[in-house]
C-alpha cells in the first residue's frame, strides 16, 4: 500500500509530538510500527462508528416500542385500556344563621362520586356513575343519613358522525348544572337553588334518547324516560324535587319526554332551551294533579376572564288540587356574573329568585364569594349567602360556606 510522502511525514510529526518528552528516552518507534498503530486505531474508530449506528437503531426501536405501549394503554384519568375510572367529590362547611336566631353549623361530605366508563368498540360505550351522598348510609339512618345512588348507567351508540343514541339511566338535558356539575366547574359551595327547587338537579331517569350535533354549533336531544311521581299529600305535596323516583322500582304508568335545543356556534356563547312534558306528574289519575310541563332556558356568555350566566325555569301543572295548593306554577331564575382575577382565582356574585310550593322554597337569595383553583382539577370555595324568605322571616338565613372539591 502506497501513501503520499507528505502524509507520512505529518503522521510521524504528530506521533512524535504526542509521545512527549517523557518517552523521548524510549527507543524511537519505526515508521512501520507507528503506521501499524494508526491502522489499529483506524479499525477501532470504524468499529465504534458501527456500534454507534447500532445503538441509534436500538434507541429508535425502544422509542417506537414505548410509544406503541403508551398508545395501547392510553385512556382516561386513572384508566387503563378500554375501561376508565374518574370521579369527583366535595366537602362542605356551612355556618348559617336563620331568621329566628337558630344556627346551622355542619360539616358534610356532600358528595363522593366515582365514574366508570368502558368502550366496547369505537361506536359503543358504557358510562356509569355511582354516588355516595352525605357520607354514606346505615340501615337505621343514624349516624349516616346519606344516600347511595346510581345516577348514570347507560350504553351509548354512535349512529353516525352527527347522531348518537343511548339507553339506560342518564342525566336529563335540562339546565346548566344537571349534566356538568363537577365542583371545579361552577362557583359557590352549594349549587344554585333554582336548579334544586325548580329543576330537581341532579335529575336522572331511565329510558332512551337520541342526540345530534351539527357543524353550525347547534345540537339537539330528545329523550323518552321515566317520569316524576310527585306526592299529593304531606309537607312535600306537589313538591317537584320529591317526585324524583331515582329509578328504584319506578312507577312507569306515565312516561315523560324531554327535548333540548342548544346553540354554541360562537365561542364563549351558549344558548339553550329545554322542554319536559309528562301526561300525569303523580303517575295516578283522579288526584287533582295531571299533566305537567317544564320550560327552561339559559344563556352563558364568556369573554376572556368574564362570564355571565342567566337561567329561567318554570313548571305549569294542570289539576284542581295542585291549583288549590298554589303549586300549579312553580318557577325561578338566577343571574350570575364572575370574573377571573388570575388563572387560579375568580370571584362571583349571583342573584336567585325561587318560587316553589313550600314556604321554605319561596325566597330571594344573594351569593357572593370566590373560587381558588390550586390545581385545575381542585377547587377551594368560600361564599357568603343572604336569603330572604317571601313569607316567613324565621326562614331567612345568612352566613358563609366553605368547601373543597375535586375531579379526576
Amino acid at each position: 500500500m502506497k501513501y503520499p510522502n507528505l502524509l507520512k511525514k505529518s503522521v510521524l510529526l504528530t506521533a512524535l509530538t504526542a509521545t512527549g518528552l517523557a518517552q523521548a528516552a524510549a527507543p524511537t518507534p519505526t515508521l512501520e510500527e507507528l503506521w501499524s498503530v494508526i491502522q489499529a486505531q483506524q479499525k477501532q474508530i470504524e468499529q465504534l462508528k458501527k456500534k454507534a449506528v447500532r445503538t441509534d437503531e436500538k434507541v429508535e426501536a425502544t422509542g417506537e416500542m414505548l410509544e406503541q405501549q403508551v398508545a395501547n394503554n392510553q385512556s382516561g384519568h386513572g384508566g387503563k385500556g378500554k375501561t376508565s375510572i374518574g370521579g369527583y367529590g366535595e366537602l362542605h362547611y356551612n355556618n348559617l344563621e336563620n331568621g329566628d336566631g337558630s344556627k346551622d353549623k355542619e360539616i358534610d361530605l356532600h358528595r363522593f362520586v366515582l365514574f366508570f366508563g368502558h368502550e366496547f368498540n369505537e361506536r359503543t360505550r358504557f358510562v356509569g356513575e355511582l354516588e355516595v351522598e352525605h357520607g354514606g348510609v346505615e340501615a337505621d339512618g343514624s349516624p349516616l343519613g346519606g344516600e347511595v345512588e346510581v345516577e348514570q348507567a347507560y350504553v351509548e351508540f354512535d349512529i353516525n358522525d352527527e347522531f348518537s343514541a343511548k339507553g339506560g339511566v342518564f342525566l336529563l338535558p335540562v339546565g346548566i348544572i344537571n349534566e356538568t356539575h363537577e365542583p371545579p366547574t361552577f362557583y359557590g359551595v352549594e349549587r344554585n337553588p333554582v336548579e334544586n327547587v325548580i329543576i330537581p338537579a341532579t335529575w336522572w331517569a331511565g329510558g332512551a334518547s337520541v342526540s345530534g350535533n351539527f357543524a353550525n354549533g347547534i345540537s339537539a336531544d330528545f329523550a323518552v324516560h321515566s317520569g316524576l311521581k310527585v306526592p299529593t299529600t304531606g309537607s312535600s305535596a306537589f313538591r317537584i324535587r320529591s317526585g324524583r323516583q331515582k329509578i328504584s322500582n319506578a312507577d312507569a304508568n306515565d312516561l315523560a319526554m324531554t327535548g333540548r335545543v342548544k346553540y354554541t356556534g360562537v365561542p364563549g356563547l351558549e344558548l339553550s332551551a329545554s322542554l319536559n312534558y309528562q301526561s300525569d306528574i303523580t303517575q295516578a289519575s283522579g288526584d287533582g294533579a295531571d299533566d305537567a310541563t317544564l320550560l327552561q332556558a339559559h344563556a352563558i356568555w364568556n369573554r376572556g376572564p368574564f362570564t355571565a350566566k342567566a337561567l329561567y325555569a318554570s313548571w305549569n301543572i294542570d289539576g284542581d288540587a295542585v291549583k288549590a295548593a298554589d303549586g300549579d306554577k312553580q318557577d325561578g331564575y338566577y343571574v350570575e356574573g364572575s370574573y377571573k382575577l388570575t388563572k387560579d382565582f375568580g370571584i362571583f356574585a349571583r342573584y336567585n329568585d325561587v318560587d316553589g310550593i313550600r314556604v321554605q322554597d319561596e325566597f330571594e337569595q344573594i351569593d357572593v364569594g370566590f373560587n381558588w383553583w390550586p390545581h385545575e382539577d381542585v377547587v377551594v370555595k368560600v361564599d357568603y349567602v343572604d336569603r330572604e324568605n317571601n313569607n316567613d322571616g324565621d326562614r331567612d338565613l345568612d352566613g358563609f360556606n366553605v368547601g373543597i372539591g375535586y375531579q379526576f
Binding site: 422509542g63 382516561g76 349512529i159 358522525d161 348518537s164 332512551a208 357543524a215 376572556g304 388563572k343 385545575e376
Partner: protein, 173 residues
C-alpha cells in the same frame, strides 16, 4: 308506547360510519405541505424540555419524543391529549413562532364536540407564546366542554414551545 316505538326506530343503526375521525394525520400533513411534505423529524422530550412540557400539560409527556415536519419557518405537529376520557388528536401548524392552524383530527370524547369546529379553532390563529409559556391571547371557552377546550389550549402551547426548540424557529421574513 308510541313514543318508545318512534324512538326505537330512531335507534336503529343507520350506517356504521367511523365516527370521530375528521382527517387522517397523514392527510393533514399532506395538506399543510401541498402534498410534498418534508421528511419527518423527531424531537426528544428529555431534560429541560421534559420539565417544561410537563408544566404545560400538567402531567408528564406521554412520549419520549415527538414527530414533526419542518420547512423554512414552519413546523407541523400531530399531538394528542386526553380531554375527559379519550385522547383528542390535533394537527397544529406553527409559522414564524405563531399558530397558523389548529385542526382537530380525531375526537372520540362523548362531550365537548364543539371544539372540533372552525368557529372554535379559528381563535387560535396567529396566537403566540409568552415567556411564561402561556398563550398571548385569551381563548373563549365553551360551557360543558371545559376539558376539551383545556386540552386544545395545552396542545397549542406545547406546539409553540416545541417549535421554539427546532431549527425552524427563526422568524424568517
Amino acid at each position: 308506547m308510541r313514543l318508545f316505538t318512534l324512538l326505537l326506530i330512531c335507534l336503529l343503526p343507520i350506517e356504521a360510519l367511523s365516527r370521530g375521525v375528521y382527517q387522517q394525520p397523514t392527510d393533514f400533513i399532506n395538506d399543510v405541505f401541498q402534498n410534498n411534505p418534508p421528511a419527518a423529524k423527531r424531537l426528544w422530550i428529555t431534560g429541560e424540555r421534559k420539565k417544561i412540557s410537563n408544566d404545560i400539560l400538567g402531567h408528564p409527556p406521554r412520549s419520549l419524543r415527538v414527530r414533526y415536519w419542518g420547512q423554512d419557518s414552519r413546523t407541523a405537529w400531530i399531538l394528542e391529549e386526553i380531554g375527559k376520557e379519550k385522547p383528542i388528536t390535533v394537527g397544529i401548524v406553527i409559522n414564524k413562532n405563531r399558530v397558523e392552524r389548529v385542526k382537530v383530527l380525531i375526537f372520540l370524547e362523548s362531550r365537548g364536540w364543539e371544539v372540533r369546529h372552525d368557529f372554535f379553532t379559528e381563535q387560535f390563529k396567529n396566537i403566540g407564546l409568552q415567556s411564561n409559556k402561556e398563550l398571548d391571547k385569551s381563548i373563549d371557552g365553551i360551557s360543558g366542554a371545559t376539558l376539551s377546550v383545556r386540552a386544545l389550549k395545552k396542545l397549542s402551547r406545547l406546539a409553540l414551545y416545541l417549535h421554539s426548540q427546532t431549527d425552524f424557529a427563526h422568524d424568517a421574513s
